[in-house]
Structure formats: C-alpha cells, structure tokens
Symmetry: C2
Subunit: 429 residues, 2 copies
C-alpha cells in the first residue's frame, strides 16, 4: 500500500531543529586559531544564504519556489506500507518506509544538492567543486549543477573511480567533470601523486582537493553532502512529508523512527521533525556499521571533519579524524565523525544508536528484496536490519507498534555487493 501526496503538497518550509535541541549547539572552531568560526571564515566555501541557515535559530525556513520546482521532479516521495514484509515476519507491527530512492540520483542526496546549488547560483557562483566516495553525493551535485547551469568538478576517490565506473558515467551523463583523486588538478593531489603514483585516495584526500580547488577560484564554491546543520535542514522534507502521509494512512505518531547513519543527513531528514514529539514517546534510532561505530563506540569531543585537519573542528561523536574504516560495501556510512546535531541528540539520550555487522545487514536486504521487491542500497539495509529486529521484538511482546524508516536509496549500482553476499564472498564484521 502506497501513500502518495500531490505535487502541490511538497513542504513550503524546512524544519530547523536547533531551537528544540537539548542544549544550544557548540560552535565550530577554526582549525588554526581554535576560535569559534564566523560567517567570514566560511565565505570562500559557501554562499551567505547557506551560512545563515547553518547558524539559524528560526524554527521554519521557507523553501524558495525555484527549489520546490526542481524537487517536484520526484517529490513528494511515496510512503509505503511494507505489508508483505510484515506478513513474512508474522509481526503485529505496522512498517512504513519513506522511499527516497525515487530521485534521479537514486537517493536522498539531491534534497540538499538542489537548494545548495540554487543558493550558489543566486549569489553568482558558476562552478562547484566537491568530493565523492561511493558516488552518491557526486551524482546528486552533478544532477543539480546541470539543472541550474553551473559547472561541476568532482574529485572521486581513486579506488571508487576504478571500481565503480557506472557512478562516474552517471555523473558525466549529467555533465559533471569527474577526476580520480588524488589528481593533478591540485597542489595537494600532485604532491601525493609524486610520492605514490598509484595512490588509491580517500574521502579525506578528496575533500582536501575540493576545498583547495574552491578556495583558489573566485567563481567556485564547495558543497558538502552531510554532517553540517544546513544539510540536515534540507533533508527534513523527508520527515515532514512522512508525518503527513502517516496521517493519511490513518496512523498517529510512529512509535519508532529508524534511519541509517553515516554523517547523519539521511537520519536527520527522517528523524528531526519528530524531535518535538519526544514527549509523546516517539523513539528515534540511528543505525551504523559495527566496523565504523561512531555513535556507539566513539567519544564526544571536538574533532576535525576531514583527515588532513583542514576543516573547522566540530563537537561530535568521533572515532578520531585519522580513523580509516574497513572497506565495507556501505560506503556512505564510512565516516569517522557525525553530525553535531545527531551527536548531541545521542549524547543526551534523546536518540538511540545501534550497530550491525554487514553480514546480517545483507541478510535483511535480501529478505526485503524478496518480500517487497525493491533492492536496497547497502546503507539503507542497515536501517532495514534494525526495522526487522524491532518488528520481531513486537511479535515477541505482541505490541502493535508503528515503525517508520527511511528507504534512503536503491542498490542498483551496488549489485556487486549482493554478488559477494549471495556467493559467500562477503567479509563480515
């Protein structure tokens, strides 16, 4: 059963959770001086509109009509009741998922790529530099820059560039310029290539190259796909639509809201609009891989966002900025840190966090594909694992629980991971 809103029911404003947090967010600190960063420090990288959103305390921030027009290419996304999965589990729980995989790039990432590029265009920027690991973010930015007529330079982690040619082609189809990182386009890249011409790269390296590119050119800004407050803000359209669709389905508030968590943008999108409903007993759950257990095993402290230590320091859960997670298939969850907003919620016990090894995650993914049909992204499958366990617990206790989760992306460009799982080549852990 699918619940679909009309094109005229896309939210008109983003929900800013800042005034609802357990305590005010700690300011990011300048990597050099250790002082709180101000708008001017960020101006070489981001347009003022986004810097303003990053620091805003307004509860609702209007979405520009030009952004809504582009979002309407795929929004509102369907809310789907997973009745076939419920039946297979024999659970009394009612499971709903918000299907963000229907965007052109196949994930929730365009929800923020589109407004980010819009604000850059509005302030006269004509070129964007960004990084991508597994390719989801680079795809979303290539898509958005094409629609608003900006150039796009993507620094793609060398290992992914070689292993995931389809992601590169997707970006190029939308006109993105994709280069293997480290590259000869930046001073930092050239230096690394000189030391090791076969350098496989890393997200940290790619971020450093994109930032160097953006800082060095007046026509160019940088764009980040997770972690920051304005990114989570843009993703709240997910949860806002889901609330309205649950009502359409005849449900009240969900008992539990679940999302996979790497940098926090997907989880924030589905969960933040439910933070004010905490008093009504709505549980919020973050799901992460045991191999990169930022929220479940990390410490809560100031740390850099990147490996090289070039970004501002943020107060967040972190495994240390030099932590390199093992190469699990859920590339989008391989991040040493976490969104300061998500970290604060977990720190104060307003949000739970669980971790799963990828073997049991793929087991859940295949069970989902074989009941509901759709093949989830490995990142999304983490949420599905937790959902199934919640539903089985409800079966045990006989509770008619309502479970909501974010189906953050499809797995059609991740089928090599399924191949490994189905033929017992998956490294568990």
């Amino acid at each position: 059963m699918r619940y679909q809103l009309g094109s005229d029911q896309i939210p008109q404003a983003w929900f800013n959770v800042a005034p609802h947090l357990p305590e005010p967010l700690a300011p990011p600190l300048h990597p050099g001086t250790g002082e709180p960063v101000g708008p001017d420090d960020l101006a070489p990288l981001f347009p003022m509109a986004l810097i303003g959103q990053e620091m805003s305390a307004e509860e609702w921030i209007p979405i520009p009509p030009e952004v809504i027009e582009v979002l309407s290419l795929w929004r509102p996304t369907p809310l789907v009741r997973a009745t076939r999965l419920e039946k297979a589990l024999g659970t009394p729980a009612r499971i709903y998922y918000k299907d963000e995989s229907v965007s052109p790039a196949g994930s929730h990432k365009p929800n923020t790529a589109v407004p980010q590029i819009f604000y850059n265009q509005a302030e006269g920027i004509t070129r964007i530099a960004t990084e991508t690991g597994a390719g989801q973010w680079g795809s979303a930015v290539s898509f958005a820059t094409q629609l608003y007529g900006l150039e796009c330079q993507v620094y793609m982690v060398a290992a992914s560039y070689r292993q995931k040619p389809y992601r590169r082609v997707m970006m190029e189809t939308w006109g993105g310029q994709v280069v293997s990182s480290p590259s000869s386009l930046t001073e930092f890249g050239r230096q690394l290539l000189k030391e090791n011409p076969d350098h496989t790269g890393s997200l940290g390296v790619a971020i450093s190259e994109a930032v160097e590119d953006a800082v060095g050119r007046a026509d160019t800004h940088y764009a980040l796909g997770s972690v920051l407050n304005h990114v989570l803000l843009h993703q709240t359209v997910i949860g806002l639509e889901a609330k309205r669709q649950l009502a359409e389905a005849g449900e009240g508030l969900p008992n539990v809201v679940i999302g996979s968590c790497g940098g926090g943008s997907n989880l924030g999108g589905i969960a933040l609009p439910f933070v004010p409903d905490r008093g009504e007993g709505v549980r919020l759950v973050a799901v992460e891989p045991t191999s990169c257990p930022t929220l479940t095993k990390g410490t809560y402290e100031y740390d850099f966002g990147d490996v090289a230590g070039m970004t501002p320091k943020m107060l967040m859960h972190t495994l240390g900025h030099d932590f390199i997670p093992p190469p699990i298939h859920a590339g989008g969850l391989r991040y040493h840190g976490d969104s300061p907003i998500i970290s604060s919620l977990v720190k104060h016990g307003w949000m739970e966090a669980v971790a799963y090894p990828q073997g049991t995650v793929f087991e859940a993914a295949v069970q989902f594909a074989r009941t509901q049909g759709s093949i989830p992204a490995p990142e999304t499958a983490h949420a599905i694992r937790a959902v199934i366990d919640e539903a089985l617990a409800a079966k045990e206790s006989g509770e008619e629980k309502v479970i909501l989760f974010s189906y953050s992306g499809h797995g059609l460009l991740d089928l090599a991971a399924y191949d490994d799982y189905l033929h017992d080549r998956l490294i568990d852990g």
Copy 2:
C-alpha cells in the same frame, strides 16, 4: 509536474484490443503441420488461463485481486509532464510520460510477469523456465516467481551473462537460477557447446533451451515477455492509467502516443487503449532502431518467433527469423519479428512506424537526462528521440500538440552504453 493516482485506482480490468482491430487476427500456425494451433498445442508451455486470454475476443478481462495486490507495490505509476524538456526545446507542445521505470525490476516487464506467474501458480505449476537477452525480462520473472513462491530457471544469452553481471545478480537476489546459454542443462545446449565450447549464444538459442526445459518437466511452464496477445493485454494498464491521469491533468485525448517497439509489449501497453480513439485523430507511433527495422523495412508474412523454428508461425512484420541484428545497446529492440497485433495496426495504416540510428537516440537520451533528471534505458531513448522530433515539428508549425509516451525503463544498468556515447565510442547505425 507529476500526476499520481491512489493505490485504489489501479485498473480492475485489462483492455483487449482484439474486437477493435482492423480485421480479426490470423491464427498462429503449428511449426510442423502448418495447421492453426489450438489450446492443446500450447498447454505444455502455458496455463489455460493465459491460452484463453491469448484467443479471447472479450473487450475487458478482469484482473485478479491477487495480481492487483502485487502490482500495487509500484502501481499506479506516475504520469509526468516534462516541462523542463518542453522549455529547453522551446516547443508549444505539452509532453507527458508514463513512468514505468519505477517497478522493482526497473521497466514495464513486471506488468505481465506478475499475472503470468499468478496464473501458473493457480494451475499448480511450481517452476518457470524462461530466457533473457539484455536481462529485463529475466529480472521481471525472477521478481514475480519469488513473490508467488515458484522456482525460476533463466537461460541468459552467454554474451550478456559475461557482459552484464549486474543483471544476473539482480535475478539471483530475487532467487532466480541463472545459467549462461547455451548451457549443459538441455540437450540442445549440450549439442551447441560440444560444437563450440565458447558459443556466445543468442535469444533464439535461449528460447529453444527454455522451451525444451519446460516441455520436459510436468512441474514447469514457459513464460514469454513480449509479442503474444496476452502479454500486450497485461501491459494495457499503462495506457489505461495514462488516460485517467491525462484527464486529471486537464487534458483531453493526446494528439500522438509514442512508444519504442521491439516485440511490441511496451508500445502495445501505452497505445492499444487509444486504438478506439483513432476516429478522434489520435496518432499512434512505433519507434524502432534502423539496425533492426522490422516495421519500417520488414515484410508482412507468416514467420517463426524464434531462430530455430520451434515456435508457431505468426503473421507479422519480420526481417526473417534468421536475421541477427547488430549488437546495439537497446537489446530489448533486437528482435526480427513483431507482435501480430502491432503488425496488423501498422499494416492497415492505423499506426505509424519510424526508425532511428542509435547515435541520435543517445543524443536525445542525454538531452532528457540533462533537463528532466532521469536517465532512460536505451530502448526508452528511441521513444524520446521521436518525441523530441514531434515537439520540434510542433514548434515549427506552432501547434499546441499533446504528446504522450511510455518511459518504459531506466538506464541505470545500461550506463556502459552512455560511457560509449559520451566518449565517442558508440557505433552509430
């Protein structure tokens, strides 16, 4: 702008065009005797319900509730107005597309795979044998057999099996058994492998293996994804929904309905419900590749459906059953023959046919991706080429034409083709 019907608005009956055709369909002829085939001849391959539909003259055939329940996993599909493409073309035409890419298998194929497997299950069949070339049909059958609890054996053309591992993994994720064809599972396959262990296979060979498999086992039937009347019948949900959605969009009948055509199932799905509207001036257009110009250059005569001459002969447009099309990327359009229904409509001038070389087709595909966001399958891109040309003609003449086309599938598992196009490696023709 997207027009979305509720889950309760899936059509309750398929539209059978048979009573509306220019003349009654000529019967298929037995490959051995040359006599018209009867239900008993087809019983080793198909359930009686489908044989009945194949020969039915009823205008409306009810869709079983058990089929509607599964179709509701993705249906009704959205009707989308391509306003960004219209703007880029500067055309006064209004372009609408029916988005069949949202099915779990990524194309229109599950619309018939689901009822076919349902009827087989209802008649006690527990296993399906089928063939697949590019992989769309095998994916749809694997998906449907998984949902209804049947086993599935897919014979996948050896060349595709090697070149398209992701399609194989998709089928395996849904529990399909996939073997490279020719295989050692059949007498015919073993014979071919003995002659040439490196045989690259063909659709004709794979059909022969699947038919041999099905005929040889009482628990097993065969399933075909195009050409036959019952297949086109099941696809009419596309056009039926589109009619209702066009009304919702405030439009009357479209001026032109466009679909790409290989065996005819996609085109039939969008176009057949409009055959009775011929008197109102609705034009129907088939689009095919110039490299496999069945409708535009073939002859209208009785011919076999397969290369080996094992299937009944059908009256249709054909390039000769031994015609092997060049290896263009639109694998779904590489068929020597065509649906007898589509062929009859073209023969009597009730439907137009045009052909395009693949270079200009991919040019249209990239233009679509860069305006509307979604990346179309190469087959679908043939329709888009024709749509763009219709829209440009409308610009020339100043006509406010309404164009409807079937967006039959996404190109996410065909990105290698885009890679070739973007880097000037595409063989045109």
